[in-house]
Chain length 229, copies 2
DNA sequence: CAGTGGTCTAGACCACTGA
DNA sequence: CAGTGGTCTAGACCACTGT
């Protein structure tokens, strides 16, 4: 094998991570690299394109490619189903619906989901357990105008997240992560003290600009979200 | 223009997000799609490859491509320099070194960084402010055996993160996110109450299997890490 | 204007793996 | 064994943008 795109990519990467090509330095053009490596330009192109996607180099027509001044490194997180997350760690997953009711959009939520005042929502709360221990409290709203069929689902049998992922296609997701103090309701459900710091996820899911669902997830104390790259 | 790879990709994506091609359904082979779209197979290949990278479809030789049962969605976060993060939001960035001293690796840290007992470390703490308000407390260890030049840097002038990113190439990063309660030291620095929930980042950085630095970052109450995809 | 990356093509060979 | 994706090639045209 002469030079696969992986070859080229790893070789360039080695020059960068070793410090031989410091931040800001220019990289030879695709044509030059292709002749250096003895391969087609398309092969070099793929290697360079992937390095650019990973944020390691910067490419501009005519100007050429450079090692990024500040490597804008990106972290990637998989967002698994909670059932799989727990079972993957060897835990026994259990789900329980706490409450469910139809309602109209509260004032604080309406602008976030761009809903009308008379918008109908299904609001529910539920718990997820790992081997008997509280794992996550879920506080969810589903837009019934977009998903009327949600009204007929028996959420005692299937968690809303699992139902949504299986049944409902979506196009966009907004997500944010914060640390929040447990209030008394959360403390009771998550078996901790009021005021305890909880890892909190907020997520809105859309389909072609239309809000489908909004959820607040509170993890039991000690939860850790990890990644490596 | 007949059919660019973006064209093909978007068209396939539309079939998936609209629900027309439900999870698990098979997708035509590259050769068939190429003739359908009237383009080269390489064009279809790039579209499908990107969809696979994004976790929307699953590809196997001979078996063909399928829409994933459970879309393992991935969230991406940019990890910017804190200075840029603050200035990007229109804030005024300020940095202050609090303390700095040479030491050996504490017991709890040594196994994490795979250090020897006599390993020499530079330990420092510092603060980052946004427009005068506390923004982040940084608690950092630098491996002096891997980076002896760190000992000669004046960290009153430049923050350790900025120095490291500019001067030190790395290959691997481990990162994790949790919610933690402020202790009295953190509360004093971050201008909050002890026990307040803080968003906390832990990060270890490596070069070819050798630990370079380990840092704990504590953000002032209210910090939010967001993404969308 | 000219150099560089972005993309497409038609064809080829190969690796893997299901039947 | 045969069908599918994985990759590479040599060449081409184009879009963008620095000079």
């Amino acid at each position: 094998m002469r030079a696969s795109y992986r070859h080229v990519k790893e070789d360039i990467l080695r020059h960068i991570t070793s410090g031989a090509w410091p931040p800001g330095s220019a990289i030879a053009s695709e044509v030059d690299l292709a002749s250096q490596y003895g391969c087609a330009r398309a092969t070099v192109n793929r290697a360079m394109r992937e390095l650019a996607e990973e944020g390691l180099i910067e490419r501009r027509r005519k100007a050429g490619s450079r090692v990024r001044d500040v490597p804008v490194r990106q972290a990637r997180f998989d967002i698994p189903l909670i059932r799989e997350e727990i079972e993957h760690r060897g835990g026994r997953y259990k789900y329980a619906l706490i409450a469910q009711q139809n309602c109209t959009a509260p004032d604080w939520l309406r602008p976030r989901l761009k809903l009308k005042a008379e918008g109908r929502l299904l609001h529910m709360t539920c718990m997820h357990y790992a081997s008997g221990a509280p794992y996550q409290f879920e506080d969810r709203w589903i837009n019934l105008d977009a998903l009327p069929e949600a009204e007929t689902v028996d959420f005692d049998q299937i968690g809303p997240n699992e139902w949504l992922i299986q049944m409902v296609p979506f196009t966009d997701v907004d997500m944010s992560f914060t640390a929040q103090a447990a209030d008394e309701v959360l403390a009771a459900h998550l078996d901790c003290m009021p005021g305890d710091p909880l890892f909190h996820v907020e997520r809105a899911t859309w389909h072609e600009g239309r809000a489908l669902t909004y959820v607040r997830l509170y993890f039991a104390p000690g939860y850790r979200m990890a990644t490596s790259y």
